[in-house]
Amino acid sequence: MTTVTLQRRPLRRATRRRRGITSGVMVALTYAAAMVATLPLVLILFHVVKLGIGALSIDFFTKMPKPVGEVGGGLANGIVGTLELIAIAALVGLPVGIGAGLYLAEKKTTLLANSVRFLSDVLNGLPSIVMGIFAWQLLVKPIGHFSALAGGVALGAMMIPLVTRTTEEMIRVVPGSLREAALALGYPRWRTSLSVVLRTAMPGIVTGALVAVARIAGETAPLLFTAFGNQFWSTSPMQPIAALPLQIFTYAISPYDDWHALAWAGALVLILLVLLISIAARAATRARYGAAAD
């Protein structure tokens, strides 16, 4: 076979040339794809910073929104509202997610574990608007009015599959010898799991939790019919509450230039918030790998 190829080679010089050119073109196309794919991100960040930075000031963080036509004002209520919604979501999502992750890491391949893993992925793909109408049906309709609680629960439910997945992965990389050592010392299994395995995996789990928070922090659709938004100052969990993403939406589709400026500033703050949480997540990971290296 080798000889045949060698004999034919001179005849196929043109073919080889063509193949080489095709290869070069395709490789160049993947370079182009990488450039085109990063372009939208660069443009979005550029526009958000350019248009958002002008409206940013101390007032933006400390003042309430003002009516159209009045200069100044901020989105203090939305910023606080978003933080409160995140807190409620974490209270709902973290315990369930971490508990389920512990279960999955320990019962690796039972039928129930595999089903839960699969359904957790399905839950992760659930459209956020569907989670919104579910939370409405569950917590708004029976109570009779919109509330921060309903919004937080909707966001918390969205966190569960993310936290479950990362918790499982982080616990799985804890060396089995640690667990065995603790068991050999006479620790009961539950204490081994909680104070040895879970503690060792904690930095990774914190990272996972922060990534989940970063993802839900900017969600708007689940809040439309739950937290609903509020023009006024409110921190009560049982009342409608303002949220940064909702304010960006309202101001973006309004016809007023003043409000558009507020929307851009809100978008800048929201992106900064998400980035800050993501960077914190990376730092937590680094702490973990640093500890492993020592």
Partner: protein, 311 residues
């Protein structure tokens, strides 16, 4: 139950009981969502039957509800998105897993991943003030007149701006990081020996990818594309802000449209009659069903490749 309570002490039993409970919370939650939405959707589905899916009359005033334009819009906008995003995402994935020099790999991967972190509402804001003017003033006239695509039914009519095309482009940008991340993973899972064997046989760099790497990763890549489809189908805010929100079926991508998610987002808090509310819940139920099927197929395909990779 006995298996559950095998642990020796009370602490072990409580621990097993607790973690099992949290794990069971996930299927229970999913079933609960399906039940609640199904229950709320039932009156509308019962009243209109199959017409709910096929009728294109959405008239809250006269109490007639047909979701066909929204279903059509969801499918078309997601299809356009995949058409744009798939080649780009595959290009990025191949670039990152095969060709990128080491110093470019991390920053490009980071930037593409960051696309997934931008909140949907920010995409919408950017879409309203930059993408739509760009499409209206440049891309749409260019496609219709300069490239003479106006001769086909898909690129006809006035270029308003808010349109199915705008929704498709925004969705493409949003689905891209998901498709590219999954494709990158499965490409990387293809053993090095496959590439080396192809190169040793005299294949060019591109032929190696095309004939030795991609066939091994194919079902995983398809899984990634379907996962991106799942994201696009359920995406709400950005689409609502750029699609124009008109419940009509038009072949032209230049015409405004509606999606299931944006229909719910726009009308839910203003629904006054029980039937209207139930119809919106039914739209949610249809969306729920479609995304669950799509996601299940995607996960199954990706898992299959992951298992092969280990073997």
């Amino acid at each position: 139950m006995t298996a559950l309570l095998q642990g020796r002490g009370l602490g072990d039993r409580l621990y097993t009981f607790g973690t099992t409970g949290f794990a069971l919370a996930i299927p229970i939650l999913l079933a609960f969502i399906a039940y609640e939405i199904g229950k709320a959707a039932w009156p509308a589905l019962h009243t209109f039957g199959w017409h709910f899916l096929t009728s294109s009359e959405w008239d809250p005033v006269n109490g007639h509800f047909g979701a066909a334009p929204a279903i059509f819009g969801t499918l078309v906008s997601s299809f356009v998105a995949l058409l744009i995003a798939t080649p780009l995402a595959l290009g990025v994935a191949i670039f990152l897993s095969e060709f990128a020099p080491a110093w470019l790999r991390t920053p490009v991967a980071f930037l593409v991943d960051l696309l997934a972190a931008i909140p949907s509402v920010v995409y919408g804001l950017w879409g309203i003030f930059f993408l739509i003017p760009l499409l209206r003033d440049h891309t749409m006239p260019f496609l219709r007149d300069t490239l003479h695509l106006g001769a086909t039914p898909f690129f006809t009519g006035p270029a308003y701006g808010p349109s199915m095309l705008a929704a498709g482009v925004i969705l493409a940008i949003m689905a891209l990081p998901y498709i590219s991340a999954v494709s990158r993973e499965v490409l990387r899972a293809v053993p090095r020996s496959q590439r080396e064997a192809a190169l040793a046989l005299g294949a060019t760099r591109w032929e190696t990818i095309r004939d030795a790497v991609i066939p091994n990763a194919r079902s995983g890549i398809i899984g990634g594309i379907i996962l991106g489809l799942g994201r696009a189908l359920g995406e709400t805010m950005a689409v609502t802000m750029v699609i124009g929100n008109r419940p009509e079926i038009s072949a032209s991508l230049y015409a405004p449209g509606y999606t299931m998610a944006s229909l719910i987002a726009n009308e839910f808090s203003e629904a006054t009659t029980d039937l209207h509310l139930s119809a919106l819940m039914a739209v949610g139920a249809v969306l729920f069903a479609i995304t669950i099927i799509v996601n299940a197929i995607a996960r199954w395909l990706v898992w299959r490749v992951a298992r092969q990779g280990v073997a």
